[in-house]
Amino acid sequence: MNKSNMREFFSKYNLIILLVLFTAIASILSPKFLTLQNFLNLLQQSSITGILAIGMTFVIITAGIDLSVGSIVALAGMIVAILIQETNSILVAILAALAVGAVLGFINGYISTKFVVPAFIVTLAMMVSARGMALLVTEGKPVFGLPEAFNFLGAGFILGIPVSGLIWILLTILCALVLKFTPFGRNLYAVGGNPEAAHLSGIRVNFHLTSVYVISGVMSALAGVILASWLTVGQPTAAKGAELDAIAGVVLGGTSLFGGIGGVGGTFIGVLIMSIITNIFNLLGLASYYQQIFMGLIIVLALILNRFVAGKKG
């Protein structure tokens, strides 16, 4: 393999290489790591961040950002918990929570496109307000006493596989197909890569920009529902800082913050790598402070590696 081939190889597969590397490290450190049980645990633990990161990938492909996802998780969790008790219907409660996520996402997208406000600001405002709403509904108190049946989404298993992990995987596959094989998906890349060109090609730029925030809002709400189901409680302070984990997963997964490049497959692996690192630290019994430092390092290193390889190519 000559030099340029090697570079191409690295730039193409650097994520896989990182994944293999950390899996190897983890399995050396602990024989428990490479067990099916541990992997299934990993899936379950990563699913919340993973689902958020799917929505975030859509947003970042269009060169946007969504800081409100963590707060929407909490709000959706509260709504589903309260409505289950009020209506006795799990389905109605879940649909209502998802609808709220969609509406909040729409507001994000609508304001940022209609009034040409940076998404960073709009979603920052939404992050604050949605958290406020989550706290307001019960004046800050968690909602307990959710029915057993509701537990299935977050803590249930199908053929031994955690349901939440399964949802994450299925959504990743579905969204990967949407991004690759639907005109809608391709238009998102065009809008993110060069909105002017997209506009001149007759693509409705504002519609596409708004829609990614709706997607992100729905994904966040879904994550909120799953989290509430897993914890069997609606917790208004849940998922604080989750937006940053999601963004980190997306970026680690190779989606460019400048838009137009990336995909949910990479995001899946990015989130998985982050979980493995957490897992390693847990297996080592180290305090989470070390984890956070190391996680920061890994994200920066992965970005530099990407940049280096990509830059040298051109």
Partner: protein
């Protein structure tokens, strides 16, 4: 061309458009016959871009009527014009560079399978076939960012074909093309014509109009000057129509070189240059001519410190110097007016004064504080001296025309009090009126005692402004011509054959 029975595919009648304080269109008429290549030309502010933007739906006209294929039409946004079959290929290419060529070609009209999914096989297959038919080598699966500007243009054209355009508008298509790429373009335009597609061709290179065009419409100061059949007129007549007065070719006095040597490079070699020696004197305009790949640009890069030579020596004002980076050459007083002013020369959002002052802010600082009074005065003076047409020095440079932007780049180095200026393709994408002005500035700068080096692919331009022309061939200096020995054929032959 104007056979009987041939109808107008496009008629724009008494179109007016006003902007607050900016030039506009005044009752402009413009008619294009079906199947012809119609050139549109005019100096800066003549209104041709405004007219085309109205056609594309980017601007909305204040007055007038547009007829397309005989029917009165309303064009309120780009989608409307697309639906009519009008495709505009912009000078600032409107491609999504992160996506593949094939995807760009089908952008907005992806072929779909029965299940409404994107049909990748058709996209890649059809795109490749189209590109192959044009006789150009492009791997359509590669991202556009990996293609040369010329090839990107071809991708744009293919995109227009896919959109089933009846009328293709090309805005300065050749501005960024090499001569071979231009030949391809000429061929593609002929293909379009053969398919019955009408082309509106906007360019400032008059020779090109005569090569590709059937008729030409001239605009001046937002008004319609006239439409002529190109075969029935000559170069000078066209120029007179454009500028509105008779042309006098002012040339610099025969190239006696009196100044002392400013820059002296001896036997410089890099991977692409072989033992190149040249000298630029104070008050001299030295031209560098050569085909693409001859090493013209590389010489500039070495002088500007962007590339480090592997061998050879360089003297500046008599002292031996080694340039490790552009910072070193800046310090010596060498200023570069780059080929691509929008990305390399200017920060488009910043105002005129700030762009001009960028490299010399330190010189205008006292105890770390910028002396705005002095700075503004000097910038103001330069703006006047260079005749930069700008409402004020606080206007963003993005609002200026190409020629005026170029002047701001020049002002930058004059303000920095450089000793030598390098021009790389100084008039690329600049209209003919502003070109003359840029030539004037180059001469003026030389008369002020600066040394000037101009690299250009337009020989006529070099012959007009330079005291001497060096011809590069295959990384070597193949010939030298002084003003009294300028002969176009000889210089061309030297550039092509190396002798």
């Amino acid at each position: 061309m104007s056979d009987k029975g041939q109808r107008n595919i496009l008629e724009m009648k008494s179109i007016s458009k006003a902007f607050p304080g900016v030039h506009a269109l005044k009752k402009v008429d413009f008619a294009v016959l079906e199947g012809e290549v119609h050139c549109l030309i005019g100096a800066n502010g003549a209104g041709k871009s405004t007219l085309m933007k109205i056609l594309s739906g980017a601007y909305i006209k204040d007055e007038g009527e547009i007829f397309f294929a005989g029917k009165s039409v309303n064009i309120n946004n780009p989608t409307d014009s697309k639906k009519l079959g009008i495709s505009i290929i912009y000078q600032e290419l409107s491609l999504v560079t992160s996506l593949s060529a094939s995807e760009n070609i089908f952008l907005g009209h992806y072929p779909q399978t029965a299940r409404c999914l994107v049909d990748w096989r058709t996209i890649n297959g059809k795109a490749q076939q189209m590109i192959d038919e044009m006789g150009i080598e492009i791997d359509v699966k590669k991202p556009v960012s990996s293609l040369s500007i010329g090839k990107r243009q071809i991708v744009e054209l293919a995109k227009a074909l896919v959109a089933e355009a009846k009328l293709v508008v090309m805005d300065e298509p050749s501005a960024t093309l090499s001569s071979e790429e231009f030949e391809t373009l000429v061929k593609v335009i002929r293909d379009l014509k053969a398919k019955g597609i009408t082309v509106i061709y906007i360019s400032h290179r008059l020779e090109e109009l005569f090569r590709v065009g059937d008729r030409v419409t001239v605009l001046r100061d937002g008004t319609y000057v006239g439409t002529k059949v190109l075969k029935e007129m000559d170069h000078d007549e066209l120029v007179e129509m454009i500028i509105g007065y008779t042309l006098s070719k002012e040339v610099r006095k025969s190239g006696e070189i009196t100044g002392e040597k400013l820059l002296d490079i001896r036997n410089i070699s890099t991977p692409k240059l072989h033992s190149v020696s040249l000298a630029v004197h104070k008050g001299e305009v030295l031209g560098l001519y050569g085909l693409v790949g001859s090493g013209r640009t590389e010489v500039l890069r070495v002088i500007y410190g962007a590339d480090r030579p592997q061998a050879g020596t360089m003297f500046f004002e008599g002292k031996k110097v080694q340039l490790r980076s552009p910072v070193d050459s800046l310090k010596l007083g060498i200023g570069m007016v780059p080929e691509n002013r929008k990305t390399q020369g200017l920060i488009m959002d910043l105002p005129v004064w700030e762009n001009a002052a960028l490299p010399s802010l330190k010189n205008f600082s006292k105890f770390g504080k910028i002396q705005y009074g002095i700075l503004f005065n000097e910038v103001q003076e330069l703006v006047k001296k260079l005749r930069v047409a700008t409402p004020s020095i606080t206007t963003s440079v993005k609002n200026l025309s190409g020629g005026n932007q170029q002047k701001v780049v020049v002002a930058k180095w004059l303000l920095k009090k450089s000793h030598m200026l390098l021009f790389d393709e100084p008039t690329q994408g600049i209209d003919i009126g502003a070109k003359e002005e840029i030539y004037g500035i180059i001469k003026e700068v030389a008369n002020m005692g600066y040394g000037v080096l101009v690299a250009s692919s337009e020989l006529s331009e070099l012959m007009q402004v330079c005291d001497r022309i060096l011809v590069m061939f295959n990384g070597e200096v193949a010939g030298q011509f002084t003003r009294d020995s300028y002969q176009e054929e000889a210089i061309l032959k030297c550039a092509v054959t190396g002798r």
